[in-house]
Symmetry: C2
Subunit: 247 residues, 2 copies
DNA sequence: CGTTTGCTTGACAGCATTCAACGTTGGTGG
DNA sequence: CCACCAACGTTGAATGCTGTCAAGCAAACG
């Protein structure tokens, strides 16, 4: 169905000059709500960065779990597969979001994380994260919130996959994407998709053809303009109403 | 689609004599891997129990989040809904499993937890859980593993909802159920379902009719016997192969 | 014993998949 | 700079799975 081959990024972490306190994602990341002094200590733990080239994997299913990762720049997808080889994109991650939380449960990652464009992540060794979060309750609380948010997010996707039809799924996907982009200072109406139609399809439990058709239909309804991976949302409320009101 | 009415259980926590160290679910619960001495301290936090009658809610979406709950006996479903009223069962929980983790992210529960039979839960005040897990790394680690396991579980459901056809979904559901029951000392082949066909359908993103048909088909294939809510699995490997091999 | 609820089954319609053909884009090398 | 190729995306037609609706039945409950 999808290519199983996975190119691994070189595992060499590099040290950069950027700090958590100086990071413009700090209010969306683990450090949210931390005291400046505590953050200084946290920076001693999160000193390593890793560059991941487009198409390379940050980690793969089965890899030993040692760290979680905060996306510093770029864009990722996570992809899981069942024993028989069925694959599915389980999420898309952008700057400020955490990757690797799946690995805690078994000390092994259960999905692949692949960069959709050249990216950079902060490496957060998990042992040390746990240790620090034993000392700083702000950090502990924020970490728990992030894990919980991931649970709630996944359940939202379950609702989407279980209840919505193709157009609604795509609308929900686009709205979610634009909301997250907006929180990062980007336009809420002009989106440049980083993922292929096939990846969107996989994430939404549909096929490439259905996604393409759904884009066309949303465009015919005057809700957006599609030009390759450039999406111009002309009627955000209309998109939203696709989900709220009666179909 | 589904009834929205939710009867709330009386909020009176009761104290029982049973301790964590004496609980037969201790190896499946938060206390797994804890030292006996630490467990004693933990018991001072987890002193309250709540009885929930069949059909009553342990908590509901929007309720303030104060505690997580460990199922001591009985059986629950969690149910979420989107703004427009679409509902979906997001999971079924049995003894030893944790409820309420969704509430951490926003300090409000985002789903309902409803007892499918008369049940009993241990109330674990979250503030105190965080405090204790700052002192005991075993507890901290176990809690993180449980949250991570929930993430992985949800992603497994996403894969099911996104990729499988009706019979496969039902097979996967039954296998998952029997595995969990087996881990609790019950038979892996004789299952007494606690949920209705409609609840199974909602969980699997299907309709009541399709579930009923799928049960009949699995029975016709000689994989199991259905008699109301009593399921006798006669060919567990065959069920498993439904998922592994080519459909 | 009657009523209600839950479940099964049939017929039909609809939405998404499948398969295939065609068009477009972007990258590569001449 | 252009030509070519491969990957990606769009669209059409036919198939098939699942949803919908309704009828009938069984089980549970009072």
């Amino acid at each position: 169905m999808y290519a199983v081959t996975t190119i691994r990024a070189s595992a060499t972490p590099k040290k950069f000059e950027v700090t958590c306190s100086g990071c413009n994602m700090r209010e969306l990341c683990l450090t949210q709500g931390m005291q400046p002094d505590d953050m200084r200590l946290f920076e001693n733990v999160v000193y390593a960065r890793r560059r991941i080239k487009r198409g390379e994997a940050l980690f793969g299913a089965g890899d030993e779990f040692k760290s979680v990762y905060a996306v510093r720049s770029g864009f990722f997808k996570t992809r899981m597969s069942s024993e028989d080889g069925r694959e599915q994109v389980s999420g898309f991650q952008m700057a400020g979001e955490l990757l690797g939380l799946d690995g805690i449960s078994t000390d092994q990652h259960s999905c692949d994380a692949v960069a959709l464009e050249d990216s950079q992540v902060c490496v957060i060794p998990f042992e040390q994260l746990e240790q620090l979060s034993r000392e700083f309750s702000d950090l502990q609380r924020q970490f728990h919130k992030i894990m919980s948010r991931e649970i709630v997010r996944d359940q939202g996707v379950m609702l989407l996959l279980g209840n919505m039809r193709a157009e609604e799924r795509l609308a929900a996907f686009l709205l979610n994407l634009t909301q997250r982009l907006q929180a990062r200072g980007f336009s809420a109406t002009a989106v440049s998709l980083r993922m292929s139609r096939e990846e969107i399809a996989s994430f939404l439990g549909l096929t490439l053809g259905t996604i393409s058709r759904s884009f066309s239909k949303l465009q015919d309804q005057g809700l957006l303009f599609v030009r390759n991976r450039q999406i111009q949302i002309t009627d955000p409320l209309g998109l939203q109403q696709l989900l709220d009101g009666a179909p």
